[in-house]
Symmetry: C2
Subunit: 310 residues, 2 copies
């Protein structure tokens, strides 16, 4: 059972109350506490030794990743992070010096985005270190960008370059907080999320949430240098485009806006963020499903990659 199917199942008929304006299924929960100008964003995310990092990973990078993943979800709503709590599940043989370095990584990132580390808990998780971060942030009332707003004819954009993140970037990525807020301030963004499970895994969330489909142009998908190098050096590696579609842990923004805004956006973006690529990779269609076109023709895209049409 895939994670999102399981969450779908568990989220059915859970208790809610009027403060919750967006519940399970988006990047963050959105809560209305009656403040005139803003809504609360609430998110948790966990990283686990042997799954999201290795015992040999420098602990500063583990701490960075643990907090950055949550910050990326706040970015996906065009929000601003404010305060975090850190829960540690400690191995039986934990080393306090390791935890000092882990916290140094968390703290450096927290300082950069002015996120208070307002507390934490430790518990025992004998076989492996687990770090769960709970994050509270906010977004201007009416400014949260959900996954459900995409419309037929929208242009689909992605920041940065995709694929190959596990060769290093997943431990060092910078959450796209400034970029997301700039986007929302300057253009009517229809739908947005942060890419954690790969374009092929995450684009369906926007499509399902919005009741639409998509056509992608294979040659427009930005492929990272790491994915290209892996394809050249390792015989068993994925082709670069497949890596860009399915590797996961990119933590780039995927969003849509009206087709007429696409060219003005690209022009303004180059001025604002000259070092960060922004790519228009296709368009939203009213027909369901995802088609990807490249030199081999049109293929159907699934969460595992593409398949030739029968």
């Amino acid at each position: 059972m895939k994670e999102f199917e399981l969450i779908d199942r568990l989220s059915r008929s859970l208790h809610t109350n009027p403060t919750v304006t967006t519940g399970p299924g988006d990047d963050c929960a959105v809560l209305d506490w009656g403040m005139a100008d803003r809504l609360l964003l609430f998110k948790t995310d966990a990283v686990v030794e042997g799954i999201h990092f290795d015992p040999s990973t420098p602990p500063e990078k583990v701490g960075h990743k643990a907090l950055a993943r949550c910050l990326s979800d706040i970015a996906a709503m065009a929000g601003t992070p404010s305060a975090a709590l850190v829960t540690l599940g400690l191995r039986a043989d934990f080393d306090p010096a390791y935890l000092d370095r882990l916290y140094a990584g968390i703290n450096a990132l927290a300082r950069r985005y002015d996120v208070a580390i307002a507390g934490g808990e430790t518990t025992s998780n004998p076989e492996r270190l687990l770090i769960s971060v709970a994050l509270l942030g906010w977004v201007g009332r009416g400014k949260a960008v959900l996954r459900s707003g995409a419309e037929g004819g929208d242009a689909i954009f992605v920041t940065g370059e995709l694929g190959g993140s596990l060769s290093g970037r997943h431990l060092e990525f910078e959450p796209r907080l400034a970029e997301a807020r700039w986007l929302v301030e300057h253009f009517p963004i229809h739908a947005m999320l942060d890419l954690s499970d790969g374009l092929a895994g995450d684009l369906p969330h926007i499509l399902k949430g919005s009741g639409v489909g998509a056509e992608l142009l294979g040659s427009a998908v930005p492929i990272s240098r790491a994915a290209r190098i892996a394809a050249k050096t390792a015989g068993s590696a994925k082709p670069p485009l497949l890596a860009a579609l399915t590797d996961g842990e990119d933590f780039e923004l995927l969003f849509t806006l009206a087709g007429r805004d696409a060219v003005p956006l690209l022009d303004a973006w180059k001025q604002q963020f000259p070092k960060l690529p922004l790519s228009c990779i296709g368009k939203i269609t009213s027909e369901k499903g995802i088609t990807i076109r490249d030199k081999h023709g049109a293929r159907s895209l699934t969460v595992h990659g593409y398949e030739h049409f029968a």
Copy 2:
């Protein structure tokens, strides 16, 4: 290294910001988001298979306990819970039907206190199930009861009965939310916490936070039936008073208020909560340390229990 020593160590020089009015070291973080009438309470807590529950524990009770522990921390601040996120670390061989029952336990308690389950995440934790709950609540501005307000001459009270919780109560306890709010509405409570590590383990948090000491009367400490039965039936069991002081997982309220309010409180409490015992167990002293008096004389209380004075 004890949990609270470790948290002390890790909490040093973490980034904070002006929204945080109470950070690491109290039952919840307290955040000021500029709302006229209230402050936010923010808390996380985790339970782990083999540590806080057994594989044979009915999953509904596991879910109940996971959420109830967080609710108890909100109670300790005299707050009201509002929304929770649930993070599951799933065993490699997890059973979706087990998780349905776990969520049923969470949901039943959430409904009773009108706590929205606003989302969740799942991750892999191959060897054992881990459930981390993040909870958001609120307290009236100026109404949060911290651990640091105890004064010499205060009376020390505890709700319910202590000890023996691991024989069953730790899976079924009801967080003292209504009782805590009633207390704060009717009496000036100086300091409060919820007992999770036993009276001997937790009272020092109030004393350290307030820069005071305490004298307890052994015969006034309310001992649970479970602790008395255990002492009679198991030859190796702790004496009942020692169990009440050190067993942990009681999730009762421990609080102090001015000595002159002690009798009026006891009278009003009996009217309001006739089924729940409230016990005055001693007084706050300006001298540091904890003394416990019983038929054996005066003894010094440590986190591990009491020791005869040399």
